[in-house]
């Protein structure tokens, strides 16, 4: 088709070529609905409550740079695992083995670092994580055992290996290399943060102008995230530049989150991952390598868990047999708080990280307010279930409203197409969304 033909063919869409500002803002606004951005609202609400209570109780400011840095430092390891847990969940699987894998890699790193050296020890630890992930992947995808069972087994067995490696005792290493790595602090001057913030806002403006065209993607959560993170970076850069000084794990969390988010959204493999998670059979019959997209997330998840294990070993300079127990559930809870579907095909890694931040903010708040950690798990559990309930109810009532609204636009649709009446034909019930109720 020549360019001229293409332009001619585009003519029917001409009236839609210039989307009004209102239309564009409305489509961006969809991503601010509670069932989409619930995790953001929950975090804001939680922080506001904590800020007010700490002031009322005459305690040090909650949003101080020290406290924020403190929380970020605690969040980083779990958030890194949560990012790849989300990738596994999007692919339609499940990984319970991450905490055991992290503990194993920490144990191996500390156990071997004095004999084989720092870099080989770290590589060995990472390799072990990848291998466990690969074994999980083979059992799930090639043998066909349910992912829950496979990774539950891996979680138990790998924890057993940790016990064997450690011989039931807590160990430490002479080498301080891992501690040094964990303590490396990366510092960005305030103007770098400000420039990046301005850059993000500039991209947002560009996207907004681009969305005028009807062929462009409607504005969505990505656009909103650009604005929010741009503004946040500017505020931080000018009011609390010391927040741009963080230890290595925190920066690792930031770069991993941003990198994986962008990859999932802008690269072909990201699209295919969501396709495989949504409908594996349709993906397979479209020529997508389903095996690869089902298996690779397990390997990545194992690798990420192993990396976190190394960070853990450096942070505490020791590892005991029960290290990191329960982290897998925290991480899955964080992904669910972030709105990730347990059925695959839906989820955003950024929101899972926010979910992790919520969980740690909760426990941090309990400590700050001296409420005692006894209540902590009760609150975490309630928050998790409440969040899921909000997502479910919000999307259900939304669907119902959609049904009620459907009539008017439908009639305009058929009238605009009246020149080709045969095409506005009746649908079959299979094409309708209304579920069959019996």
């Amino acid at each position: 088709m020549t360019t001229q033909q293409q332009q001619h063919a585009e003519a029917p869409d001409a009236e839609a070529l210039s989307q009004s500002v209102g239309t564009r803002l409305r489509s961006a606004g969809v991503s601010l609905r509670p069932q989409r951005a619930g995790v953001v609202y929950a975090l804001i609400l939680l922080v506001v409550i904590l800020v007010i209570t700490t002031i009322a109780m005459g305690q040090p400011a909650y949003l101080s740079s020290t406290n924020i840095s403190n929380i970020l430092g605690q969040v980083a390891p779990d958030a890194i695992i949560a990012v790849f847990m989300t990738v596994v969940l999007i692919s339609g699987n499940f990984d319970l083995s991450v905490a055991s894998v992290a503990a194993l890699s920490a144990a191996i790193a500390l156990e071997t670092i004095d004999t084989i050296g720092t870099v080989p020890a770290i590589l060995l630890a990472l390799l072990v994580g990848a291998v466990v992930g690969f074994v999980n992947a083979i059992l799930v995808q090639k043998v066909g055992v349910n992912a829950f069972i496979v990774t539950l087994g891996a979680m138990t067995a790998v924890r057993g290996v940790v016990l064997i490696v450690l011989n039931g005792e807590s160990i430490t290493a002479k080498s301080q290399a891992l501690v040094t790595i964990d303590d490396v602090v990366l510092s960005f001057p305030f103007w770098v943060g400000a420039l990046v913030g301005i850059g993000l806002l500039a991209i947002a403006v560009f996207r907004f102008r681009q969305a005028r065209r009807s062929t462009a993607l409607p504005l969505d959560g990505f656009f909103v995230a650009l604005i929010i993170s741009g503004v946040l970076l500017l505020v931080v850069s000018f009011t609390a530049p010391d927040l741009l000084t963080q230890p290595l794990p925190v920066w690792l969390m930031v770069f991993v989150t941003v990198g994986v988010s962008l990859g999932l959204r802008f690269l072909v493999p990201g699209r295919k991952l969501y396709a495989v998670g949504s409908n594996p059979e349709a993906a397979r019959l479209s020529g997508i390598n389903v095996n690869f997209y089902k298996m690779a997330p397990f390997v990545l998840s194992g690798l990420a868990a192993a990396a976190v294990g190394v960070i853990y070993a450096g942070r505490f300079d020791s590892v005991d047999p029960n290290a990191l127990t329960g982290t897998e559930l925290t991480v899955i809870a964080a992904a669910i708080l972030g709105g990730t579907s347990l059925f695959g095909g839906a989820g955003y890694v950024g929101k899972s990280v926010l979910g992790t931040v919520i969980l740690f903010t909760l426990s941090n708040g309990f400590n700050m307010l001296n409420l005692g950690s006894n209540y902590q798990y009760v609150v975490q559990g309630v928050v998790l279930v409440a969040a899921s309930a909000v997502y479910t109810v919000a999307s259900r009532s939304r669907r119902r409203r959609k049904v009620a609204e459907a009539a008017p636009p439908a009639s305009t649709l058929s009238s605009t197409l009246s020149s080709t009446p045969t095409l506005t034909s009746a649908p079959t019930p299979t094409g309708a969304v209304a579920p069959e109720r019996v």
Binding site: A9, E10, P12, D13, S214, T215, A216, L217, P218, F266, L267, V268, P269, G270, R271, K272, A275, S278, N279, E281, A282, A283, R284, L285, S286, G287, I288, N289, G345, A346, R399, K402, V403, A406, A407, P409, A410, S411, L413, S414, L417, T420, T422, L423, T424, S425, A426, P427, T428, P429, T430, G431, A432, V433, A434, E436, R437, V438
Partner: protein, 508 residues
């Protein structure tokens, strides 16, 4: 088959209708209109036939009458007073009973238990009373069966009778028979048809939905024809004829298409299947398709039609043989087939062909994301959306925009999206499994034209179609498949629907 004469008592039944439907419309989310103002009146003692093509709106109408769905606008008057059923239970307690094509019966229970399942007035199970009442029910439909037989031992036809008895046990004012004979053998049909007549004779209003027009002719007192969600014709026995029904169901469009079947030349062999066998095939199959040729596969359900297409596409594990496309031998995987230029439109488009929650534009680029991406595998969304817009225009996909989720589309439009997924990428062979199933008549005509255009462009098409009339009007050559093996081969213009029906069934 015993022809049951329509009741003479029809004239007695001019009292007010049991159910009157006034100007009902139904619009689904996403903008598809299933019904566009249908009015019907269903009276006691009358068997009312409801006919129409797939997608004409019959099922939607039945769902509305049975309370499974609510109309968007319009009024329903039940025994003289306006009503609004929100749940199937509402309709059921008012006196509406439904018998589906394959009604769920519990195989492990007896006939008696099935008939009264979920129908107990009290918690007490009084066997003697039940048996007596059961006998009365059987008498009403002149059906003889031992109430203590386990349902698992019954034939499909007898199970259907059990469903009818179960509906009858609710003592309904109105009974909906939704294609009650579709899945049972011809010999057993007479019993079901007889039951429908006896119900009407006993003063029940009966709605009879069927694709078998001869059955409609036999037992219905009046007939309504639906097409594209509208009531296009209604008549009683005096005006009833098969020709009139067909005219109403099909309209003039399909005829026009069939009449213009183009003659075209075919080229070299583009698809060469050599002794191919997969794990789900009984025997090895060889066949060839040439450029520009449309080859049809005719066979009964279970003859291995779908397995053959899947084996060619590499979707089932290959045991033996080779698939050569455009001179290149393909490895046995869908990925190899797609890369080699084979496209596959599966039978169940929602679970195998599309991702329902995704928008049109992400579905149309599902099979071709590599070609549609930029360097370093960056997605090129603008190009994807341009393609989707082009598909929407060229294939006539009716949707508000390419951002509409495909699960909100009607069957025909969703199928066009599946086609769009393939036809804009380079391909040589198109495998189609029931491409027009669940597609309304207009959409069907569009799809048939599209398939012909693709063949015209030099693509080899292999198509499975259960409706032989449609198959013969589309293809150049027919291959008859029986028990997984190719039995016969005809040029399409040398065989009639009757011959083809006989040969797939092993009668010729």
């Amino acid at each position: 088959m015993v022809v049951v004469p329509p009741s003479a008592s029809r004239l007695d039944a001019i009292e007010s209708p049991t159910l009157e439907i006034r100007n009902i419309t139904k619009t689904y989310p996403g903008g598809t209109q299933a019904l566009r103002g249908v009015s019907l009146s269903l009276r006691a003692g009358v068997v009312h036939g409801l006919v129409g093509a797939n997608g004409a709106g019959k099922s939607t109408l039945i769902k509305i009458i049975s309370g499974a769905e609510r109309p968007t606008t319009g009024e329903m008057v039940w025994l003289g007073s306006s009503t609004d059923w929100r749940r199937p239970a509402d309709a059921q307690s008012a006196g509406v009973a439904v018998v589906h094509q394959q009604s769920p019966v519990v195989p492990a229970l007896s006939v008696l238990e099935n008939v009264y399942l979920g129908n107990e007035a009290t918690g007490l199970w009084k066997p003697q009373e039940r048996v007596t009442r059961f006998a009365a029910l059987c008498e009403r439909v002149s059906f003889v069966i031992n109430p203590h037989t386990i349902v698992a031992e019954l034939s499909v036809g007898d199970r259907q009778m059990v469903s009818i008895l179960r509906a009858l046990a609710q003592d309904p004012e109105l009974i909906l028979l939704d294609e009650p004979t579709a899945s049972i053998s011809p010999a057993e049909r007479a019993g079901v048809l007889g039951a429908a007549r006896s119900l009407a004779a006993a003063g029940v209003a009966v709605v009879f939905v069927s694709h078998f027009l001869n059955e409609v002719m036999q037992i219905c007192d009046e007939v309504s024809v639906l097409r594209d969600g509208e009531l296009v014709d209604e008549f009683d026995r005096d005006g009833m004829s098969v020709e009139r029904m067909v005219e109403g169901i099909v309209g003039s469009r399909l005829h026009a298409i069939e009449a213009t079947k183009p003659k075209h030349d075919v080229g070299d062999v583009i698809l060469d299947v050599r002794g191919l066998q997969s794990t789900s095939m009984n025997s090895a199959v060889s066949l060839q398709v040439r450029r520009g040729e449309i080859v049809g596969i005719a066979g009964l359900l279970g003859s291995g039609r779908t397995s053959l297409l899947k084996a060619i596409f590499g979707a089932d594990r290959r045991v033996a043989g080779e698939v050569v496309v455009n001179g290149q031998s393909l490895a046995a995987s869908p990925r190899a087939a797609v890369n080699g230029g084979v496209a596959f439109v599966p039978e169940d488009r929602m679970s195998q062909g599309l991702i329902g929650d995704w928008e049109i534009w992400r579905n149309t680029s599902l099979a071709d994301s590599r070609e549609l991406s930029r360097r370093f595998r960056f997605l090129d969304v603008a190009r994807e959306r341009l393609l989707a817009n082009r598909a929407r225009r060229e294939l006539g996909i009716v949707a508000p925009s390419v951002d509409t989720a495909v699960k909100d589309l009607s069957g025909g439009n969703a199928q066009k999206v599946v086609f769009a997924k393939w036809i804009y990428k380079t391909h040589h062979v198109l495998l189609l499994d029931e491409p027009t199933a669940g597609v309304d008549v207009a959409g069907k005509a569009d799809l048939i034209k599209l398939i012909r255009d693709l063949a015209e462009r030099g693509i080899g098409v292999l198509v499975v179609l259960s409706e032989f009339e449609e198959l013969l009007s589309l293809v150049d050559r027919v291959v008859v498949l029986r028990h997984g093996a190719i039995e016969m081969e005809f040029p399409a213009d040398a065989v009639s629907v009757a011959d083809l029906t006989a040969s797939v069934g092993g009668l010729a």
